[in-house]
């Protein structure tokens, strides 16, 4: 079983606080990987404009880095800032890491006339292009995300060691949202692409558990013909893609995610105010029903965060905080590590029906139950 920790705050904070939560929960993972998502970025030595795309990944060789530069230049990206992690290599297990990439680019000039949708598509295609380039060259280039205001770090090893190796405690990079997942490797080989969080077009999730319905879900998403629905090194990657599909492709409100992943039973739908619509939704999205024990934490464009459980609530999750800062973790000690001083009366453990939404203003938790009516922007 993996462990999850997430913090979101109006003031940017060091990712190390989230890593310390991972450390507190260290019985829950095996050191097979750490993944971090940083959203709402601030750099100590650079005044970052949140609209500029940020590329995260690893160039494993000088040639790979060279090819990466070629790809980015070819597309018309201009490098604005290259964050140098002062990495202590002796603390990283892997030996083939030539350069950890966290770079800010200026979007290609040619894109200024593009619609937002087109820009999102171009960013996705560029990221996939880099990934495929790495894959055709013996996996010497790994890319995690290419998106404005989003950085990702993934490495194999124990979270605290990795945090220290990357000197994340020195506050050179901070963010308003930070996700961390300490991995317990289950089904697949140790692979950087199998580390959570998973990212697609501004939508990001991390989970702990096991999605036993992975194969049919993957088969269905792959058949959709959407270029970003690929990879699938981990059974958990589909959670990000389902969230993307529901909110971006279907244009449904965030609350619908839960109805797609873990739909209500017939008896529950019979008394639901939107039962008729939801019954149909359950049928048409049947191949996206997840299974097994899972807790999902997600991040969406605009700095909204969300937390949802599997249909049987087979995974733990604790949320707590104060107006302006909230933390969620698999264990209470994780929340304590991130926000030690808080009003514990506001602590909340989501149950099977809940989706907890932390809006960008971070004033309070929106606790939404699947049994309630959800906002009707689409589902009239």
């Amino acid at each position: 079983m993996c462990r999850l920790a997430m913090k979101t705050a109006s003031e940017a904070f060091s990712p190390f606080s989230v890593i310390s939560a991972m450390e507190a929960m260290q019985e829950g993972y095996d050191g097979s990987g750490l993944g971090l998502l940083l959203r709402g970025l601030e750099f100590a030595d650079y005044n970052y404009n949140g609209k500029d795309p940020v590329l995260s990944g690893i160039a494993h060789t000088p040639e790979a880095l060279h090819r990466l530069d070629g790809i980015m230049e070819g597309k018309g990206f201009q490098l604005k800032y290259d964050h140098e992690f002062e990495t202590d290599r002796s603390m990283v297990e892997a030996q083939d890491r030539f350069k950890y990439i966290l770079r800010v680019y200026k979007q290609p000039d040619a894109w200024t006339s593009f619609t937002e949708e087109k820009i999102e598509e171009e960013l996705l295609m560029t990221r996939i292009g880099i990934r495929l380039d790495g894959e055709t060259h013996g996996a010497d280039l790994t890319v995690f995300s290419l998106w404005p205001d989003v950085g990702m770090i993934k490495e194999v090893g124990w979270p605290l060691e990795i945090g220290k190796a990357f000197k994340l405690n020195e506050d050179r990079v901070k963010s308003r949202i930070c996700f961390a997942q300490g991995r317990q490797n289950t089904n697949y080989g140790i692979n950087l692409y199998a580390c959570h969080p998973f990212f697609i077009q501004g939508v990001c999730t991390m989970t702990n558990g096991e999605n036993t319905a992975f194969t049919p879900i993957k088969d269905w998403l792959s058949g959709k013909g959407f270029p970003g629905y690929m990879g699938y090194q981990s059974d958990s990657e589909v959670f990000a893609h389902i969230l993307h599909y529901v909110t971006k492709q279907l244009g449904l409100p965030l609350q619908a995610y839960k109805h797609v992943m873990t739909p209500l039973s017939n008896a529950e739908l019979a008394v639901h105010p939107q039962g008729d619509f939801l019954l149909g939704l359950r049928q048409v999205c049947r191949r996206l029903i997840i299974d097994g024990p899972n807790a999902v934490i997600g991040s969406l464009p605009g700095e909204t965060c969300m937390i949802a459980m599997d249909a049987k609530k087979l995974r733990p999750m604790m949320i707590g905080g104060n107006p302006g800062e909230w933390a969620a973790a698999s264990e209470m000690c994780g929340v304590d590590a991130m926000i030690p001083v808080r009003d514990r009366a506001n602590d909340f453990q989501p149950m099977r029906q809940h989706t907890v939404i932390i809006p960008p203003d971070r004033q309070e938790l929106e606790i939404w139950s699947q049994f309630d009516q959800f906002p009707q922007n689409q589902a009239a």
């Binding site: 079983m1 036993t212 194969t215 049919p216 058949g223 244009g251 149909g280 939704l281 049928q283 049947r286």
Partner: protein, 545 residues
């Protein structure tokens, strides 16, 4: 040696040892009650006088050393038409366990089973005693690493399936918002009682099945549906609230459809679905055949034909030029008859061309599903050659079709149902879940339910299998009241219910260790393994040993 002329031998003469089943009779136990001979469906048994030698110790050479005793023994007919079929009814009724059929693997009767120039026919099943592929598929992706594991006895499981066309999500939302037509769907239990006609089955069997199905739905909440087969449905059922549990079949003879169409205005509810039969796994290329023995007064009325005549359906739907056209026209007309509120789907025999039919359906917005019936499917009557050697096994057919749909991203839109040999050796849940994980949305089972609910005696060793001639020893497939009154419909209903309850238990026992409880694991091929490399490669599942 005696002259050959004195032995009554003709080309077709057979001895008991040439027959597929030999009767073993113990005259020491026999009380001559005659029940066996009376009950034998093929009238093969004859009580006859026989004589045996009683050896005696003789010291005086003027006396003979043996005495002879006359006794009444059993002779079995060596006439091909009256050969013992191994049904075992004689041993069931014998009060003293004095008689039983024994399978004889050296049978030669088949060479002579062509009297009158017609090829051999039978009912029942394919005679394939080799181990079934579906019986060899195991479920090996046990969810061990993440706990808590599911508990089949305690947790809630969802495993119903959808029968009907399902829209792509984008299209559903669009149509829902604009109030457009959304194709009808049914949420049903994935084990369907496959099409067996009211003519093929006895009224008691049919009634028992229907009662059992109604109980499953209304009392236990298991949404079981059953299909009629060709030949219509009794009017009282058509006008009853039970119609919603029934899939009405239309086949090339259109038998029974006058009655159905006339009943539409009086229907209280819609049928579960309409099945258009284009082919059947047991006898591809043949239409249905109800032999004259079974065309009773009731059946004649239902089908709108005279009593006591053979009722063959043509091999194809006569009014149509090609399957594309047929699928389109018939699906549309049937949909229209029920105001586009009832799913309509075709049933075809397993074939290498199944994918082409499927692709046709994908493009037809009214097509609701595809049912593929594999070579192991059963039937009321067919030629041996069709039953044994014509058709396509179901597993690869379903798999190929499913993967083809996956490529197009349409696997949720047109459900594939699988039939043909599901549970033929009794492992119905293993077989069905293997097919489901290969990509089927559900299975149809006929022979299994006959065996489980009514004690059908058929087996892959060609046991019984006389369903075609109206002499079913269990009263399952006979229209003769003297025979079918043996079958108590209430008892059949009870067994139907027990069967579905047990199926439910087994489904959970497989799903729980796989970590699945939220939906039927359609296409979960990562959970399947087989100790046969070629089969594993062909089905795209794991080879395990």
């Amino acid at each position: 040696m005696v002259s050959i002329r004195s032995i009554p031998s003709e080309p077709s003469s057979l001895s008991p040892n040439d027959l597929p089943w030999r009767i073993v009779h113990d005259e020491n136990r026999c009380t001559l009650c005659g029940k066996c001979a009376a009950v034998c469906p093929v009238n093969t048994l004859k009580l006859s006088y026989m004589r045996k030698r009683m050896p005696r110790m003789v010291l005086n050479s003027s006396e003979r050393g043996s005495n002879f005793k006359t006794f009444v023994g059993i002779r079995q007919s060596t006439d091909v038409g009256r050969r013992c079929v191994g049904c075992g009814t004689c041993s069931m009724v014998c009060p003293n366990e004095a008689i039983a059929p024994v399978h004889n693997s050296t049978d030669r009767y088949k060479f002579q089973a062509t009297a009158g120039g017609d090829a051999a026919k039978r009912g029942g099943r394919r005679n394939d005693a080799s181990s079934s592929l579906l019986d060899r598929i195991i479920f090996n992706r046990i969810s061990m690493l993440t706990d808590p594991a599911l508990d089949a006895g305690r947790h809630e499981f969802t495993y119903n399936t959808i029968l009907g066309r399902v829209l792509p999500p984008e299209e559903y939302i669009k149509r829902k918002l604009s109030g457009e037509w959304i194709p009808p769907t049914r949420e049903i239990f994935p084990f369907i009682i496959g099409s067996m006609s009211f003519g093929a089955l006895s009224p008691n069997m049919w009634l028992g099945l229907l009662q059992g199905v109604a109980y499953c739905n209304e009392v236990l909440g298991i949404p079981v549906v059953m299909a009629t087969g060709e030949g219509g449905c009794p009017p009282w059922v058509l006008k009853s609230p039970f119609l919603k549990y029934i899939i009405l079949q239309v086949a090339s003879g259109y038998f029974g459809w006058d009655e159905i169409i006339r009943a539409i205005p009086d229907m209280q509810c819609e049928p579960a679905a309409i099945e258009i039969k284009y082919g059947q796994g047991a006898k591809p290329g043949d239409g249905g055949l109800l032999m004259w023995f079974k065309v009773s007064k009731l059946i004649a009325r239902l089908r709108g034909v005279p009593e006591g005549i053979d009722l063959p359906s043509p091999p194809v739907h006569q009014t149509l030029y090609s399957i594309e056209e047929s699928v389109m026209k018939m699906i549309q007309s049937m949909s229209m008859a029920w105001n586009f509120k009832v799913p309509v789907y075709p049933k075809i025999s397993g074939s290498t061309s199944a994918k082409a039919v499927l692709n046709n359906l994908v493009r037809n917005p009214y097509a609701s599903a595809l049912l593929i019936d594999g070579i192991d499917g059963g039937t009321g009557a067919a030629y041996d050659i069709s039953l044994n050697a014509t058709g396509h096994p179901i597993a690869t057919n379903v798999r190929d079709c499913y993967l083809d749909l996956c490529k197009q991203g349409k696997q949720n839109e047109i459900p594939i149902f699988a039939a043909g040999g599901v549970g033929k050796n009794g492992n119905v849940v293993q077989n069905a879940l293997a097919l489901i994980m290969l990509g089927a949305s559900g299975v149809h089972m006929g022979k299994f339910i006959m065996q489980s609910a009514a004690g059908c005696l058929g087996s892959e060793q060609n046991r019984c299998n006389v369903c075609n001639v109206g002499i079913c020893p269990k009263g399952i497939t006979s229209q003769n009241p003297k025979i079918y009154r043996r079958l108590d419909p209430d008892k059949v209903a009870e067994r139907v219910v027990e069967t579905f309850q047990a199926i439910q238990v087994e489904v959970k026992k497989v799903m729980a260790p796989l970590g699945r409880s939220q939906s039927l694991p359609i296409g979960m091929s990562d959970a399947l393994g087989i100790a046969d490399k070629d089969a594993a490669d062909r089905l795209n599942i794991q080879y395990v040993c």
